[in-house]
Subunit: 529 residues, 2 copies
């Protein structure tokens, strides 16, 4: 017989976990519990059931659900069939969801009954061959659909060998403009992301061991919940699934299940800390380690969390990067510094994981820049998407110069931590140098007569571009007053003289994108040509 080539496939995470931590639990709300061993068995039953139903290697299977035990089954069973898990963003409008179902060429949809209305209109537009598997919380069949729970009655099958280069997952990410772009990951991408992330979280200040319990508040439709449902299994961490987010229940689950580790966007941390019940959970918070990503962690929120006893740090990544690239763990330059310096750095965008080669690039020349120089953040790593699905043009833009372009502008500070200053497309480049609009906006917003501010670039013959600030004023706005304030900020070394905007334009309200971010594209259009 011959050498067995061990492929880096997702079943290996599950099997390693079940073998080493058979009694570790997966908990869905206060409703259902599985041991790693019984979960593995259940996933194998689902593989059988789906195969019997006709799901084949190469099929795409969409899942429309909250963060449930059903979703957790899908994370493992669908890729192990050699099929692709399509995690559908339930926050999109129905029309966009339909677009992504069509773009992914989904053959199957697994859906929680409460989302069925969302699919009703769409159904007639989907190919008639698309089959729908529905489930209800009570496990009662949903009339007119295959019952998901019945699939778990099949005999478990062993997993079969597939290539680590098979597509395991696909999902769609919307820019602020244009159609959603499909990004996809192979088994290998996900397995390597899992070990890179697990290694990182074992370090200071999170020191994750198999005794930590995870409750992840990143939706499972959002870049594999940052990969943590996979990390939990290989690493032996009890995993608590919250279903649809209910912060009162979440706090109760945290206490009852002994949660010690979570990940989420800043808004959710804000909601938890400001929940009326939060003050009753300080004993839970003091053992709680929270990684923040998705957008910048505001220092005020970080301090509030710290003061409530929470170990808080930030990370950074994109849909295109599986997603984690950097985390605010303590690297060799930081580990012996004072606590306040450590804290300040751990809430930046973080420092690269093992196997992440993150650089700062001059976006025009492709030249790699040294520490403290601002440029576009580009990366190489074994877990990046190889393409935008069926979109060679945007793919070649994503991968120009052989590096994945994050579209974020930033620099690497003296300690080796990433500081993000802007989105590339929002950047203002003046006299060959970038003006970090995020920093500039923060400073301008400190002035008492400014309610909201957005800085965009205006074409300039001499400088290439010059900054213009759109301002929603409050009280008596006086431009000279603001200019004087900004000059003082220059004196204090907070901003540079040449960053001060040429013009301040007052508006009644900011134009917003569908995800409630300020739409700078509209602002630039206001400036005309």
């Amino acid at each position: 017989m011959a050498y067995y080539r061990y492929e880096l496939t997702i079943d290996k995470l599950l099997e390693s976990g079940a073998r080493t931590f058979p009694n570790r639990e997966i908990v869905y709300r206060d409703l259902r519990r599985y041991s790693f061993q019984s979960f593995t068995d259940s996933v194998k039953r689902l593989v059988s059931g789906l195969r019997k139903l006709g799901v084949k290697k190469g099929d795409r299977v969409a899942v429309i659900d909250w963060d449930t035990d059903v979703y957790m089954h899908a994370y493992y069973a669908i890729p192990m069939l050699g099929a692709t898990l399509h995690t559908v963003n339930i926050r999109y409008p129905p029309e966009i969801i339909l677009k992504t179902l069509i773009a992914a060429e989904d053959k199957w949809i697994i859906i929680r009954d409460e989302f069925l209305p969302l699919l009703e209109k769409a159904k007639s537009l989907l190919p008639s061959s698309v089959k729908i598997i529905a489930y209800s919380e009570s496990k009662e069949p949903v009339k007119g659909y295959v019952n998901f729970w019945d699939l778990l009655n099949e005999d478990p099958t062993e997993f079969f060998d597939i290539s680590e280069n098979e597509q395991a997952t696909i999902f769609f990410t919307s820019g602020t403009t244009g159609d959603p772009k499909g990004v996809w990951f192979t088994h290998r991408d996900i397995v390597l992301h899992t070990v890179g992330t697990a290694l990182t979280f074992s370090r200071s200040p999170t020191y994750i061991t198999p005794k930590d319990t995870f409750l992840i508040l990143v939706p499972m439709f959002h870049v594999h919940a940052w990969g943590l449902p996979y990390v939990a299994l290989i690493n032996g961490n009890k995993y608590v699934l919250p279903g649809k987010y209910d912060y009162g229940l979440i706090l109760k689950l945290m206490e009852r299940e002994g949660v010690t580790f979570s990940a989420m966007v800043p808004t959710i941390l804000h909601m938890i800390l400001n929940h009326p019940e939060a003050v009753n959970y300080l004993n839970v918070f003091k053992n709680w380690k929270v990684v923040i990503g998705g957008s910048a962690l505001p220092e005020g929120l970080a301090i509030k969390a710290r003061d409530m006893g929470i170990t808080v740090l930030a990370g950074y990544g994109l849909s295109e990067t599986c997603p984690v690239l950097t985390v605010g763990f303590h690297n060799g330059l930081l580990e012996n510094e004072r606590e306040d310096i450590k804290f300040k750095e751990q809430i930046t965008a973080g420092t690269p994981l093992p196997f992440v080669d993150l650089r700062i690039m001059d976006p025009l020349s492709g030249e790699l820049l040294p520490k403290n120089k601002i440029g576009e953040i580009v990366v190489r790593s074994p877990w990046l998407t190889r393409e935008y699905y069926k979109d060679p043009e945007r793919t070649s833009d994503l991968w120009r110069f052989g590096w994945l372009h994050t579209g974020d502008l930033g620099y690497i500070d003296d300690y080796g931590y990433v500081r993000i200053v802007d989105r590339t497309k929002d950047a203002v480049k003046s006299g060959g140098e970038f003006i970090p609009t995020l920093i500039l906006e923060n400073i301008i917003s400190l002035h008492p007569s400014v309610s909201q501010v957005a800085v965009v670039g205006m074409k300039d013959e001499k400088w290439g571009e010059r900054p213009v600030a759109f301002i929603v004023p409050k009280g008596n706005f006086n431009e000279n007053d603001l200019r004087a304030f900004l000059k003082e900020m220059v004196r204090q070394g907070k901003i540079q003289d040449w960053w001060i905007p040429d013009r301040f334009i007052l508006i009644d309200s900011m134009p917003l994108t569908s995800t409630n971010k300020i739409d700078k594209k509209v602002l630039r259009e206001k400036l005309g040509k």
Copy 2:
């Protein structure tokens, strides 16, 4: 431009380490120190120097050295040239060393001056094209040879991309019979072994973090010093190189450099604990975590180590497995048990690493057996050798039924820990069941009239095989007395009735192999036919 496929090559370990822990040190005795950053630079200079000298992709480069900073350079630089590092076992007799140099088709030899006499005789038998690079501790040139240190004066080059499936290392392992067998590993094998091992050591009871300092007492010619020179870089661990082992100096280095983690065979731990200076280092031992492998960890030695404050655990692996398969870390079944139970299990052969699928197989039928059944230990993992070099026959034997055969007989206990009871070729199978000769020999050796004992199998028409004990007696040996003692052991549940040997054969001394193990092959021959 196109997607960059990130290969799992050894340079990624080095670059990740230098980026994240630039000031972490590599220390060679009390002689030379490098930061990870300066070491990386130095490795890049060596790559330049070797390339300029003519070392090419595909070349094999032998290294003959103690555990030095020169060797550490070779671990990274040679594979990064696309060449293969041949780690020469300096404990072999010169004739065998020569055989391995010829078998590996080495084109280059890097050698420490004190080993040159060993090469003198061999030189005339090597192809004349073989080039020798020598070095002295003082960095003075060694007359007649290229000076290794000169190679470090070249300008550093960036690493270039090579496939993760390139051969990175080769070495030769001797069975007790036959010619040394070549086993080799790719970059991918080594990188995945590195992350699997790093993840494991971050768990209880070692809890390794980047603040731990390694001093590895497994020779660098022996299966990559169990991979720990690679783990140290990706994991950020200070690495202390002892050169030729001098236990007085080792104790001093441990204290001075703050060593907290080591790996070694039991004999070396025994030598350190019994060193006259050891009692002066109890403050060092209390922070010291030691992984024992290579042969079984005797319980008495483990207890002695524990009583001196050391955290001691065992591991298991082979040359063919890169090597680590199992380590006595605390899995989910053990973690909440009493301390004495944890201790007992952590000094067994250990429990499988993530990504190690270890099973017990009936060696004849290939059937996989359940817990507590004795059979051959077989494995699948992403870091196993794919073949014995140029030896298809022994390769197909190694990989029969698609599993790597360890040649060890054992079982998996209730906690999921591997218990090794025998070498397969020394096994005695009677009535279709294995008699674990290691356990049986241990029991027989407890009798006061037994100095040494070895049990082998004798052909038997009825039972297939029956056990025969060869005994070196002491005092007045009386067979009936010994049989009564063994019956008592059966009563106490220590052995089984049918394990009691049919015959006891007295001999003056045990025949030994070249590595001073009892040569059971000779004993079996004594039984005739």
